[in-house]
């Protein structure tokens, strides 16, 4: 091989090596795009729900209440007959079987929706109004185009006759898509069209709030101690080793810790944001201490020495000068730690947050779910409608994380002093 050939070969190897590097970065970036695109394409339709425009006539004979009834009377009254009478008029059905199939096109909450309309205006008896009633999950998915209608009938959840009704609705413009208020306001439900993340949102909020209240002060105090006051001795070394190890312990181990200590020994209530918050705080603590210490360490010694030189005590130099300067880094480290805690699932599953909770929790000691656990729960469900809801929940979760990370970056760039 001549000199020139060898040089060419070496240069080709150089190019190939660069190409490998560039490809790896490209593959990683491509995956981010695929993942986000996949979630968004599946989830964005969940923010709208399919409604069927129906005329509702409030027949005095089918109701036991009068015009001007009080709120309690309406809440207790039975609207089932009114619902049936009006819904079967939506399509000219021939017999009972056809009427049953027609009724299945509406959600399980049709009666409540009619009742709510009456609650808003209690003078409706004898009058007819048009209402947008939520459609059942199957019709919802069909209308959104997520459900193939060219399958043979026995493999479909929608019968041929229901398809005929659906086409009739489409032709008469009785079916449309509205903003999905249920998705944000409702708790969990077995029916995809009624299920929402309201409960999970509140549960996550309480958990993260408790986590913040516990982890932030302790982490800041601990890092101040370790960085500024701790003498160099065995105890300090031991604490440092512990913190570094705890930051790398798998999160599921914290779930076992919570199960044994918080639930079995102290007997705090199961499935509650309180327990979740404490567990997440224990888990996030070392992850906050590490950036806090880094930002304290970044404050140059001249600041401390300047304070000491004019007669401040060690405490005053730390709390009046070092800590305020380190605060932006401390806060952004805390926010990133909380963002990790917000997405954490495994320990919450172990403390029983997988329970099926319909009610929206009103305090941190009520059983509840949380956003990531809701994702896990719904992804286990078979209904097509839950795939869309799961993806939409992930979209909400990711947008919270993005906002938190942006705040962290902003705090650091805007307020952190650079020392050169």
């Amino acid at each position: 091989m001549t000199k020139e050939e060898r040089l060419k070969k070496r240069h080709r190897a150089e190019k190939r090596f660069r190409f490998y590097g560039l490809t790896s970065i490209f593959v990683a970036l491509l995956f981010v795009v695929i993942l986000v695109q996949n979630i968004f394409s599946k989830g964005s339709s969940a923010f709208k729900k399919t409604v069927i425009t129906t005329e509702v006539f409030f027949d005095q004979e089918l109701l036991e209440i009068q015009n001007g009834a009080s709120q309690e009377e309406i809440m207790e009254a039975d609207f089932y007959d009114i619902m049936i009478e009006n819904l079967i008029k939506a399509y000219p059905a021939k017999d009972r079987d056809e009427e049953d199939e027609l009724l299945k096109l509406f959600s399980g909450d049709a009666e409540i929706e009619i009742k709510k309309a009456f609650l808003n205006d209690n003078n409706l008896i004898g009058k007819t109004i048009t209402l947008d009633l939520t459609a059942s999950d199957d019709i919802d998915q069909l209308h959104k185009g997520n459900y193939p209608r060219d399958l043979p009938e026995e493999r479909r959840r929608i019968s041929d006759f229901q398809l005929v009704i659906y086409d009739y609705f489409v032709e008469n413009k009785k079916i449309s898509k509205n903003f999905n208020n249920y998705f944000f306001n409702n708790g969990d439900s077995r029916d995809p069209e009624l299920a929402g993340i309201g409960g999970a949102l509140v549960g996550s909020f309480y958990s993260i709030l408790i986590c913040l209240l516990l982890a932030f002060p302790v982490a800041v105090l601990a890092s101040i101690y370790l960085e500024e006051f701790a003498p160099k001795n065995k105890i300090t070394d031991f604490i440092e080793i512990n913190i570094n190890n705890l930051a790398a312990v798998p999160s599921i181990v914290y779930g076992l810790l919570a199960l044994q200590i918080l639930l079995a020994t102290i007997q705090l209530p199961r499935s509650t944001p309180l327990v979740a918050g404490i567990t997440l705080a224990l888990m996030t603590l070392p992850r906050i201490i590490i950036p806090c210490r880094a930002s304290l360490k970044a404050v140059p010694p001249s600041i401390r020495e300047g304070a000491l030189a004019v007669g401040a005590s060690k405490f005053q130099s730390v709390f009046h000068h070092v800590v305020p300067l380190a605060l932006p880094g401390t806060l952004s480290g805390t926010i990133i730690g909380l963002a990790q805690a917000l997405g954490e699932t495994a320990p919450l599953i172990l403390i029983g947050m997988v329970a099926f909770v319909v009610d929206i929790p009103s305090s941190p000691v009520d059983p509840s779910s949380s956003l990531p656990v809701q994702v896990y729960l719904w992804s286990e469900s078979a209904e097509r409608g839950f795939v869309e809801k799961t993806s939409a929940t992930i979209m909400m979760l990711l947008s919270f994380l993005i906002v938190m990370n942006f705040i962290a970056v902003y705090l650091r760039q805007k307020f952190e002093k650079r020392w050169n």
Binding site: L221, L256, T345
Partner: protein, 467 residues
């Protein structure tokens, strides 16, 4: 009640602050003496003495009160003649008694329950009263003590700082307490588990089927039950499955992560680096449950479809899908750590290599990487420990049955999956099945601890070499 107490303590503290501040001021003016600290420090001194002992007492009391009351009540119920054979039934009776006391119980109330509920009300009253009395006693004692100190014109600033320093020290001790808590809670149940199951049967058994191990009464296991139990908890299939999925993950993460780390450290312009590094790190910020969802709903079925087209049987919960997605999650851990490590290789080594005519890639391959190797190995080990402790991806995308297999298209299970599966839903406490989850947790904890220790040592040694 606790909220009222905390509120009262706060009010006392705030008023004591102003009292201490003005009192010392007037003393110094009236008696014309020089104070040893600014007046506000005397205020702080009083606040700390008034609040900390009382709050610590309140916290400890609230932690232990329910447990103590419960054991007392269960005992009184037993004395009344209530019959319960195990802990669960005792708990149920206790819950009933509590519900009767709160007026939310609508079942039949017999004389035993009624008597116990009365006893419960009595004890709750007693405990609450003694709590209030004790807290006020503590506050009065500590306030008298601190007022006396102030009268003697103590060095309040120094004293306040000593107390605060103690507070800082206690906060940093929480890390040790957490570790102790983890070790205690894992060991406690594991020891019970290993008293039933031989540790060698666990470590070297090749069959994992805890669902078979149903025991009615853990305290008296019959010989037949024991035979069933003995070989239901073999750890080998789990560690095999865990390592296998982690191995697939590393096959994805190490090349991609390492090459992107090298490219970003050695080739990329500042502009490319500034954009691509945060985007790759997004991968580490996405919650693992999202990856799990993606693996289970998109990647798994996709592989099965490909397999069908090629005439292969691919399980929809294949180890391949879980491992691949886990690998992608781990890419940023490998890439940013190796980026850091490569950046800290001294420039002089590279310059030496260029000086003898090596190309850039030759320099990287023959000089930079060998120099950075301990650090790179350390970062790979950290990534491995992430992979074996990862839970949600495998729970959602890997299988449940413990198969001993090295076919990536079949489903396998992992340690973390089994922990979740055993502990989700209603657990029968004190059964070997529940305890086995803690034994698995202990094994996982020890394994990750060893990996992290080695990794951190490697990285630290490497750093010291070039500092």
């Amino acid at each position: 009640m606790n909220i009222v107490l905390i509120f009262l303590i706060t009010i006392f503290s705030v008023s004591l602050f102003f009292y201490g501040k003005s009192k010392t001021k007037t003393i110094s003016i009236k008696d014309n003496i020089k104070l040893n600290a600014l007046p506000k420090f005397y205020g702080y001194y009083l606040v700390l003495w008034c609040s900390i002992p009382a709050l610590v007492f309140l916290l400890v009391w609230s932690l232990f009160e329910p447990v103590i009351i419960k054991s007392i009540i269960i005992e009184t119920a037993a004395n009344q003649g209530a019959i319960f054979s195990d802990k669960n039934e005792a708990n149920l009776i206790y819950e009933k008694i509590k519900a009767i006391h709160l007026g939310t119980y609508f079942g039949d109330i017999d004389s035993i329950l009624r008597e116990s509920a009365l006893a419960y009300a009595k004890f709750i009253n007693l405990f609450t009263n003694s709590k209030v009395v004790l807290i006020f006693g503590i506050i009065i004692a500590s306030v008298i003590y601190s007022l006396k100190k102030i009268k003697n014109n103590n060095k309040a600033r120094d004293d306040v700082e000593v107390i605060l320093k103690g507070l800082l020290f206690v906060s940093s001790l929480i890390a040790i307490l957490t570790t102790l808590g983890i070790i205690f809670s894992l060991l406690f149940e594991s020891i019970k588990f290993f008293s039933v199951i031989n540790i060698f049967d666990y470590l070297f058994g090749t069959n994992w089927s805890p669902q078979r191990a149903f025991v009615r009464d853990a305290s008296s296991i019959t010989a037949a039950e024991f035979e069933e139990l003995k070989d239901a908890f073999g750890f080998i299939p789990l560690i095999a499955g865990t390592s296998f999925i982690a191995f697939i993950a590393m096959l994805v993460a190490v090349p991609i992560g390492l090459f992107s780390g090298i490219y970003m450290a050695e080739y990329a312009s500042i502009k490319v680096r500034r954009i691509s590094k945060p985007i790759i790190e997004i991968l580490a910020g996405i919650p693992t449950v999202v990856y799990g969802f993606f693996a289970a709903l998109t990647v798994g079925p996709f592989f099965r479809q490909i397999g069908e087209n090629l005439g292969l049987t691919v399980s929809s919960e294949s180890a391949l899908a879980a491992g691949l997605i886990m690998g992608i999650m781990i890419i940023p851990y490998v890439s940013s750590l190796s980026d850091d490590v490569i950046n800290s290789v001294p420039q002089s080594l590279r310059d030496g290599s260029y000086a003898v005519g090596a190309t850039k890639s030759e320099t990287i391959k023959q000089v930079v990487i060998p120099a950075a190797l301990p650090g790179i190995i350390g970062s790979v080990l950290l990534a491995v420990s992430r992979a074996i402790g990862e839970t949600m991806i495998v729970v959602m995308a890997a299988g449940l049955a413990a198969n001993l297999t090295i076919n990536p298209l079949e489903s396998t299970t992992t340690i973390t999956t089994q922990i979740v599966m055993i502990l989700v839903g209603d657990q029968e406490f004190d059964s070997p099945k529940t305890q086995s989850a803690f034994a698995l947790g202990l094994t996982l904890f020890i394994a990750t601890l060893i990996l992290n220790y080695i990794a951190q040592r490697a990285v630290k040694k490497y750093r010291e070499k070039y500092d």
